[in-house]
Symmetry: C2
Subunit: 350 residues, 2 copies
C-alpha cells in the first residue's frame, strides 16, 4: 500500500487530551488506511491510548514531548517553549518535512504564533489567515476567513485572503469556480470601510483572469444561505460573525428544547419527531465542520476545536489530508503569481 | 383623559405602506388611548386607511405630504426632499415640537441622514447611534448599539454609546443598574482594537459613579444568553453581528422546517408539538422586537422594520412612547454631564 499523508498530531491539546486525539486518528485511519501519524506528547499516556486502537498498529510513531501548552498560556510565552512542547514539536515536524501537516486541538493563539514563527508566511502573503467551514442550507459548507488571526486588515490582505480561500474551496471542497464575496454592512459599492472598497475594486479589475467568481459584497444574514462558497473579512468582523452564528444556533436550539419540554403533548411530539430532529442536530454539530486552517504559511497547520470528539478530530485530520493531497500550498502560490502578473501588466498598460 | 405622547408617523414608509402603519397605530391605540397621532403621507390614501379604524377617530391628524422617499434612494438625495416627503415632514414635526417622537418604516440611511440634519446631535455626543433590542434566553431583551450608523468609532464614541444604551435600558426596559459590555473578539484586557481597549479603560476608571455596571468585554456567542443588558460596539461589527444573528436564526428554523417535513412520522410529531413551537416562533418573530432607535439626537426617531406587520409597528410605537414617557433625552443628558464632571475631576486630581 502506498504511503499517504503524514500527519503530525499534538496529542496533548484539546479538552479531552490524548484520548480524543488518538481515537480521532483511529477513526480517520479507518476511512483512509494510507495515513501515517506522528503523535507528539507524553510517551506513556499517548502510548496507552494508542494501544487501545489496534487498527493504528504500524501507522503510528510516538515522539515524547516533555511539556505541553496550557489552554490559557499567552502566545508570547508559548513560543519560547516550541522545542519542548507537543504543540511546538508537531509544528516543527512540518517545518522539517517529517510531516505534511500538523493538527492540534490546543490554544489557538499559541498555535498561530508558533506556526507563524516556525513556518513563516508564503512569498506574496503579508499575513496568514484562519479559515473555517460554516454550515449552510446548500449542498456545501462555505469557507470563511479570516476568523481572528488579524484584528485589522488592509485591502491587500483581503485580496490575498480571497485568493487563499478560493484555492481552499477549489481543492478541499472541489468547487471548480467558487463564488467569493467580501463581508460588508450593505451590498452597494459605496458601503463599508475604505479597505473593503479598495479590495473590491482590485478584485473587480481582476475578474477576467481570477480562478474564482468575485461577486461583490455580502451581509451577515446571507452567510448560511448556501449561495456563496467563500466569505472574506478581517479577523475582527469574522470572529464576531462566527461566534454570533454559533451563539444564535445554540440560542434557537435551547428555545426549541424548552418548547418541547413545555407540555406532555409537545413531549410526545418530540418523541415522534426525534429521528428527523437528529438530522438537524447532525447538521449543526460543530464536530461535522471541524478543522480550521491557517492559510498563507509555508506549511499546513489545522486547528481542531478544543471540545471536539473523535469524530470531530477525524474531520480535522480529513481537512489536513485534503489539503495535502491537493497540494494546496502550490495552488495558492500559483494563483498569487497569476494575480500579480496580471496586476503588473494592468498597471504597466495604464 | 389626559393627552399622552404625540407620535409623528411616516405613513408612506415600509414595505406595506399606509395599511400596516395605520393598522399598527390603531393597535397601539387600543393599548394606550392617550396617544395622539400625526400621519404624514398622501392625504387620500392615508385617509382611507384611517377610516377603516374607527377607534382612531379623534386621535389622528393627517398632514398631506406630496412625495415620499424611495427604499433605494441615496441619503444624500433624500435630505434635499425633507420638506416635501412624508419621512422628512414627520422628522420636522419632532424638530418643531409638534410631535414628541417620529416613527418610520422607510429607508434607514435616508432616515438617519434626515434625522441628523434636522435634529442635530445632543451636547456631549459626537455621533448618534442606532440601538435595537435582541431576543435572549433571559427575561429581558438586550440593547445593542451601534447597529450601522457609524462604520468606524473611536473610544469616546463607544463610551457615549455605553451611556446612551444604559439610559435606554434603565428607562424603556426598567433595569435599575444595567450590565454593560463591549463587543470584542476575546474577554482578556489585551484583546481587540486600540479603540476598544481605550474605551474599556475609560469605563473601568469611571465604574464607581456610573449609573450602570461596566463588565468588560463580551463575545458574539454571549449576546443571546440573557446575561447582559447592553452591548456596545462600532456600527460595522454591530451590523455584522445583528444580521448574522438574524440569518442564523432563519437558517436553524429552515432546517427545522425541513426536518419536520422529512417523513410522515415527523409531520405527525410537528402537529402535536405545534402549540409549543408557536412559542418559539413568537420568541423569534422580529415583530416582537421591532423598533430601532436613533440615540444621541435632540429628538426621538424610531425606525420600524420595513417588513413589520401591524403588531410590529405597534411595538415600534410602544418603544417611542416608552422613551417619551421616561424623558430619555434628559436622562442621557444628565448621565453624560455626570460622566464628564467626574472625568474632569479625575483628570484634575492626577
Amino acid at each position: 500500500m502506498s504511503s499517504g499523508p503524514r500527519i503530525a498530531i499534538d496529542a496533548m491539546g484539546g479538552d479531552s487530551g490524548p484520548a480524543a486525539m488518538v481515537a480521532g486518528a483511529a477513526r480517520a485511519f479507518r476511512r483512509d488506511s494510507t495515513l501515517q501519524f506522528l503523535f507528539y506528547g507524553d510517551e506513556q499516556i499517548v502510548g496507552a491510548e494508542v494501544a487501545r486502537h489496534q487498527n493504528l498498529k504500524g501507522a503510528v510513531t510516538i515522539v515524547h514531548s516533555p511539556e505541553s501548552i496550557d489552554a490559557s498560556e499567552k502566545p508570547s510565552q508559548a513560543i519560547r517553549r516550541a522545542r519542548t512542547t507537543s504543540m511546538g514539536m508537531a509544528i516543527n515536524a512540518v517545518k522539517e518535512e517529517k510531516a505534511d501537516a500538523a493538527v492540534s486541538g490546543g490554544n489557538t493563539g499559541a498555535l498561530m504564533a508558533m506556526a507563524k514563527l516556525a513556518l513563516r508566511t508564503m512569498p506574496g502573503i503579508d499575513r496568514p489567515a484562519l479559515a473555517a467551514l460554516l454550515p449552510t442550507l446548500g449542498e456545501q459548507d462555505c469557507v470563511m476567513l479570516d476568523l481572528g488571526a488579524n484584528t485589522e486588515c488592509d485591502a491587500q490582505n483581503l485580496v490575498q485572503f480571497a485568493v487563499m480561500g478560493a484555492a481552499y474551496a477549489r481543492t478541499v471542497l472541489s468547487i471548480s469556480k467558487p463564488r467569493v464575496k467580501l463581508l460588508n454592512i450593505g451590498t452597494e459599492e459605496l458601503k463599508g470601510t475604505d479597505e473593503l472598497k479598495e479590495a473590491a475594486a482590485l478584485l473587480r479589475e481582476a475578474t477576467d483572469y481570477l480562478p474564482f467568481r468575485f461577486n461583490g459584497f455580502t451581509e451577515g444574514d446571507q452567510l448560511s444561505r448556501g449561495e456563496l462558497d467563500v466569505v472574506v473579512t478581517d479577523g475582527f468582523s469574522g470572529n464576531i460573525a462566527l461566534k454570533t452564528a454559533e451563539g444564535t444556533a445554540r440560542f434557537v436550539t435551547d428555545l426549541l428544547r424548552r418548547a418541547f419540554k413545555s407540555s406532555l403533548r409537545s413531549k410526545a411530539g418530540f418523541a415522534l419527531s426525534k429521528p428527523a430532529l437528529n438530522l438537524l442536530k447532525h447538521h449543526l454539530d460543530p464536530n461535522n465542520h471541524n478543522g480550521a486552517v491557517f492559510l498563507g504559511l509555508n506549511g499546513l497547520v489545522v486547528k481542531s476545536h478544543g471540545g471536539a470528539n473523535p469524530k470531530g478530530v477525524a474531520n480535522a485530520i480529513g481537512v489536513a489530508c485534503g489539503m495535502v493531497r491537493n497540494d494546496i500550498l502550490r495552488k495558492i502560490g500559483d494563483d498569487l503569481d497569476d494575480f500579480r502578473a496580471h496586476a503588473f501588466a494592468n498597471e504597466a498598460a495604464q
